[in-house]
Symmetry: C2
Subunit: 222 residues, 2 copies
Amino acid sequence: MSYTYEYPHPAVTVDVAIFSIRHDALNVLLIKRALAPYQGEWALPGGFVEIDEALEHAAARELKEETGVDAGYLEQLYTFGRPDRDPRERVISVTYFALIPSDRLEIRAASDAEGVGWFPVASLPELAFDHAEILDTAFERLKAKLDYSTIAFQLMPATFTMPELRHVYEVITREEIDKRNFSKKILGLGVIEPTGEEKREGAHRPAKLYRVIDRSKVDVIK
Amino acid sequence: MSYTYEYPHPAVTVDVAIFSIRHDALNVLLIKRALAPYQGEWALPGGFVEIDEALEHAAARELKEETGVDAGYLEQLYTFGRPDRDPRERVISVTYFALIPSDRLEIRAASDAEGVGWFPVASLPELAFDHAEILDTAFERLKAKLDYSTIAFQLMPATFTMPELRHVYEVITREEIDKRNFSKKILGLGVIEPTGEEKREGAHRPAKLYRVIDRSKVDVIK
DNA sequence: GCAAAAGTGTTCCAGATACACCCATGT
DNA sequence: ACATGGGTGTATCTGGAACACTTTTGC
């Protein structure tokens, strides 16, 4: 089967930068490329958009197929189209930015990836294509959105403590945050509520557990 | 000549939403489609990306070819790819957001557009394809960026007065702005300087003229 | 001299920041 | 009992919002 056009057409792919918190660090999900080009190198999960498929659907599908992961939050990031970014043919990549709560990190490697793994953003391997640039753009988006949206909750498990949430902010911004001011600000948003439970952990006072009131909502604040 | 691929490829276009201030109103540049589909309807300037052409280059080129306009400021907006957005074939449109200072609005209609015109965003004609949605996204981007960047200066002529600048903000946000607070805030940015000249206009005190210190720079503020 | 719009400074309020002590737990 | 980290409130600072009168011009 082949497809013929009067003018040359680029290929269109989607690539997904999906972040999670693992072991107190911000991680990103990568796959090891099974095929040339860049065979054996790590890359963002992604692939070709099907001809009748919505872009966001393609992003969610590729992520699921290649890694077994269902993104909790998915938004379009940027479209990368440098003419030489893929050695095979002209490929335009519509990239997505995704987050997943840290209690849903199961990975299932799939057929077209030799390996799948979470990597701390602080120590990434060399990446195929222009994926380092994509990842950098995604990380900047994440950092910016922490400030003016409630996106951070998309990284949290069903219940979490204030110190855990604060730690997520600290890991992403790489800045220390005062716990009193932080708690005041977060509670002031009115988007989380105490579960009434506590979390005992280590030789110190237990922390109160909270849950997000409306999981699906990402508010823009201020 | 024809081009054949093993898998179906979508077509990729760029479309540009370019804004300017004309007659004290925010305007957008549209072209009247010469060919089907949507023949005779108004649409955003745009067209197919050439196979070896950078996306931003394609946006600037189509804008120039179809309207004669050189955008002063151009940034990628969003990529629209609903499978049925074009009746001919699958078309993915990488859209751009552009601004042009109000002293460079010359339009030169080109071969593949019966007409080209500036339209106030407050009274737009019906638009072809999903261009109304694109325009809406672009307008929201413009409004948002007024608040946290110095993008508004990209709409201003080489020299302008404080009331003129304030009027641009008012036209876009549709809110009245206090002139004392506005002037304080803008001057505090440190990105404009007085020319020393004044603009006499009407039966009232003349307004001081200002110019942008670094025309090419769009700062993120705060 | 009158109408019209430009220039200019101070007070007030809200949200952000800085900061320290007590509490519940595990060992 | 002590070490560890969690919980909590107040004073201060800073940036934004509200607000009115004088100045310069054209007619």
